[in-house]
């Protein structure tokens, strides 16, 4: 187990190096000029700015400097927010995205299991039909439509009640997080519900459930210990990719709900060609995802003893 973990972590580091390299070269092949500004620059000022960001060096030297700084965990200074370090930007804004993501995952994971189990239990009856209809909506409607509708609904509810039940946008308290994270988790929740349903249905008909029933175990114990526990396994496997999708997919929700997350910063940085922020964010997210996948794999091995980690 330990040897396996260490091996995976080392592989992960190599992967991060690969991501950093790919980002660097993708970034530097972008046409356009990160220093261009509304007011035209004189040559002298331009040269000074280039020197400040090391743009006057040959590309490979820049790459070397970038890797050197990366080893020290330093992503440099932002181009647009000239006096801010990229590390500060990530430190301040990633927790926001992560909070949103954790809540969304919690909604998606717990909700998915709950609804999935319900539909399996009431197969082809009213609850099943209703939930599956909702699932179909959740899967097929784009997230930006949900985000806009969610906000509109909040305004209408607040307006109808005459006081503010939940804030329309912004960040700071749990009340601010509720609707955005629900919107963000909706697609994943729908997907997990479907997954849970089919895996429950498969297990209901399996030998060990039948055995458990015939040896007279109480129904509640069969349900929790045999059905739920086994049905959750496939849900855990897709959690890794789901975390990736949710944490990086938060752009739209962050934009619509005016949430100061890292995703919104990334989109802005791309529009502004803020090299250092783009590279910092991408490498950071890449490393984060690699790490999360490893964690989920290890977790899976721990939950399901049948899986041998090699």
């Amino acid at each position: 187990m330990l040897r396996y973990s260490v091996k995976r972590l080392l592989q992960g580091l190599v992967t991060v190096f690969f991501i950093a390299t790919a980002t660097f070269f993708a970034m530097h092949s972008v046409p356009g000029d990160p220093l261009a500004s509304d007011k035209a620059l004189t040559d002298r000022i331009r040269a000074n700015l280039e020197a400040k960001y090391g743009l006057d060096q040959p590309l490979m030297t820049q790459y070397g400097i970038f890797l050197g700084n990366l080893l020290q965990g330093d992503f440099g200074i932002s181009y647009t927010q000239e006096n801010r370090r990229v590390n500060d930007i990530i430190r301040e804004h990633f927790p926001v995205s992560a909070t949103l993501g954790i809540l969304a995952i919690a909604f998606a994971g717990l909700g998915g299991v709950l609804w999935g189990a319900l539909t399996a239990l009431y197969r082809n009856r009213l609850p099943d039909v209703l939930i599956m209809l909702a699932v179909i909506l959740g899967i097929s409607v784009p997230s930006f439509v949900f985000a806009a509708l969610g906000q509109l609904l909040l305004v209408q509810v607040n307006g109808a009640l005459g006081f503010s039940v939940l804030p329309v946008a912004g960040w700071g308290t749990v009340a601010h997080m509720l609707v955005p994270s629900l919107v963000l988790g909706l697609g994943t929740m729908a997907y997990l519900t479907r997954l849970m349903r089919s895996s429950m249905l498969e297990i209901v008909g399996s030998d060990f459930v039948r055995t458990a029933k015939s040896k007279g175990l109480p129904a509640s114990r069969i349900f929790t210990h045999h059905q739920l526990r086994n049905a959750i396994l496939p849900v855990v496997t897709v959690l890794g990719p789901a975390i990736a999708a949710i944490t990086t997919g938060g752009f739209v929700v962050e934009m619509v709900f005016a949430i100061p997350g890292l995703g919104r910063y990334f989109v802005q940085a791309v529009q502004q060609l803020d090299y250092t922020v783009i590279m910092g964010t991408t490498v950071f997210y890449g490393a984060f995802l690699v790490f999360m996948v490893i964690v989920v794999d290890l977790l899976y091995g721990w939950i399901d003893p049948r899986v041998r980690l090699e």
């Binding site: 046409p31 356009g32 709950l114 700071g172 308290t173």
Partner: protein, 564 residues
């Protein structure tokens, strides 16, 4: 299989399982609540719950507003964008400032004298920084040197060029100490001019001219203006917190000299979003005191029976031709054909539909003052009337002059903003319909568009210009052949001559005549196709009065606002 067990047993199992699920659901709920409580704790460590305050908080004499973007930084010597300008306009003050009627008023300077050779400013004794120390003439000299120091690479250095030796300092030809501005004593600032200038007083209200205290600047070690505690304030408000991307809190500055004019104790900037729908929703939910309206949400605002205001922000938008040699758009007849083939009225009234926009007629917008009255009233802009037949004649002439069989597609460069999308699609259709010209749209993100504008990689570009100071020259010198912002590289000795007259003449009639001449040349030479002058329709909270919209300076200005 399930069918083998008897129905009663199945039902019992289901009931029990449902009970289990309900328990599980309860556990999930409790878990979620616990998680959120934990996250709330975590969030409160990193952020203030600024989003919770209502639009108007009469008990604390505070209002809540939003910004479209995060200020990149608040170093006044280097700030370039409008959002920083708004924040700086609340927390800083220059030698002079604009009052609530939009006229120049004393700021840090209590009196001043300006002549052809230079200016002298006397600072007021009660001009203090937010730490209680006096604002001195040295602080201005330091700020201006900093703005011009090539190492600092300020993009707005050019606005300091009227000061003697400023341009040479900025280009590194002279040391910063040679700048023609010096502190005679703690409270007297003497400025020498490079050449006579008629509007230096207006410039001193601009943010690049704001003071910076040297010893504080040095102590921040390159992080000046990056956070609330990395700045000193001398304006009506001070920044007490700045959570990046989320909120700023402006509190009344107790050391500000003119306490009488400040009627609010606090301005919460609780939201930073450029999404018009979000802003409208926040206003509807009584979370912010003001929001602009777009064409798309205007009907909604009318249905809400809100009081709508209107303001012209002084920005002009136009199609700029590429006048570089070798470009087809260098041909006068082609340009004339294009300007005759379109109608800015149709663009404004039917396409952009934004309330407050006026069809473009001139390089000089309507707000500019002439001698007594508006410049545009005294010098009405000559305009073209849409005439498709004449346009086609000019196009044919252009074709013969250029020796072409048919026109190749022209490239129309634009940014990726929603308004320019609509415009480019409209122009593409108009020029195709009326002239048979093919237009290729080149939509680029902000920086790529600027890079292409600078390198001249376009035939036409959707461009705009906002005023830096309240004088027609801020528009007029745009098409001077030496101006780097003249991205189409229009070059005309006669136009240049008029710009030089306007730059150095001191008497208004000569200058206004020069501007009128520029207006005529731009029109006759079809340097640009004017599209519109931008206006904004906006709504304000009924209890908050005195919100100012300005053409130059902080737009929006809440320093005069009060709660009724």
């Amino acid at each position: 299989m399930a069918e083998t067990s008897n129905l009663a047993g199945e039902a019992a199992f289901n009931r029990s399982a449902a009970r289990q699920l309900a328990l599980f659901g309860l556990a999930v709920l409790i878990g979620l609540v616990a998680l959120m409580w934990g996250l709330n704790l975590l969030a409160s460590l990193t952020a203030t719950a600024s989003g919770a305050s209502p639009a108007v908080d009469a008990a604390n004499n505070a209002i809540t507003v939003m910004l479209a973007e995060e200020p990149p930084q608040l170093d006044s010597t280097r700030s370039t964008d409008q959002v920083s300008g708004v924040v700086l306009g609340h927390v800083m003050e220059g030698l002079l400032r604009y009052d609530d009627r939009g006229e120049l008023a004393p700021g840090m300077a209590e009196d001043w004298r300006i002549d052809e050779a230079g200016a002298t400013f006397h600072l007021r004794a009660d001009a203090l920084w937010s730490d209680g120390q006096p604002v001195t003439a040295h602080d201005f000299v330091f700020a201006w040197r900093q703005g011009l120091d090539p190492e600092n690479a300020s993009e707005y250095a050019f606005i300091l060029y009227p000061i003697k030796n400023a341009e040479a300092v900025n280009q590194g030809r002279l040391p910063v100490t040679e700048l023609g501005a010096r502190a005679v004593d703690e409270r007297t600032l003497a400025v020498e001019f490079e050449r006579p200038i008629a509007f230096f007083d207006k410039l001193t209200a601009f943010s690049t001219y704001f003071p910076v205290r040297e010893e504080f600047y040095r102590a921040t070690e390159g992080r000046f203006g990056a956070d609330a505690d990395q700045l000193l304030y001398n304006g009506p408000f001070k920044l007490s917190s700045w959570v990046h991307g989320q909120s700023l809190q402006l509190d009344r500055n107790p050391h500000y000299w003119d306490q009488a004019r400040i009627r609010l104790d606090r301005i919460n900037v609780a939201y930073i979003t450029s999404d018009p729908n979000t802003r409208l929703n926040l206003f509807k939910d009584e979370k912010i005191v003001m929001t602009g309206l777009t064409a798309e949400n205007l009907t909604n605002a009318l249905e809400q029976r809100w009081h709508i205001h209107r303001h012209m922000d002084g920005s002009i938008f136009y199609l700029e031709f590429n006048h570089r040699s070798g470009r087809l758009t260098r041909n006068h007849n082609l340009r004339k054909a294009m300007i005759l083939a379109q109608d800015p009225g149709e663009l404004v009234y039917k396409v952009t539909k934004t309330p407050g926009y006026l069809p473009g007629e001139s390089l000089f917008p309507r707000f500019l003052e002439g001698i007594r009255g508006k410049f545009r009233d005294q010098h009405p802009a000559p305009t073209y009337r849409m005439d498709v037949q004449a346009a086609r004649d000019h196009l044919e002439r252009a074709r013969l002059e250029l020796g072409l069989d048919a026109f190749p597609p022209l490239v129309l460069l634009s940014s990726d903003s929603p308004v320019s999308n609509i415009q480019t699609e409209y122009f593409q259709a108009v020029f195709k319909k009326n002239l048979g010209l093919d237009i290729k749209i080149d939509r680029q993100i902000f920086k790529q568009r600027l890079a292409k504008m600078t390198s001249g990689d376009f035939d036409l570009v959707l461009a705009g210009w906002g005023p830096d100071y309240n004088d027609p020259l801020t528009y007029g010198d745009l098409f001077a052949s030496w101006n780097l912002n003249n991205r189409g590289r229009y070059s005309n000795p006669e136009y240049d001559r008029q710009v030089r007259i306007a730059q150095s003449a001191m008497d208004a009639p000569t200058r206004m005549a020069a501007f009128a001449e520029m207006q005529r040349i731009i029109h006759e030479d079809v340097v640009i196709i004017p599209n519109y002058e931008r206006g904004v329709a906006y709504v304000t909270h009924p209890r908050v009065k005195g919100i100012l919209r300005r053409v130059v300076g902080a737009d929006t200005d809440y320093t005069y606002a009060w709660i009724e």
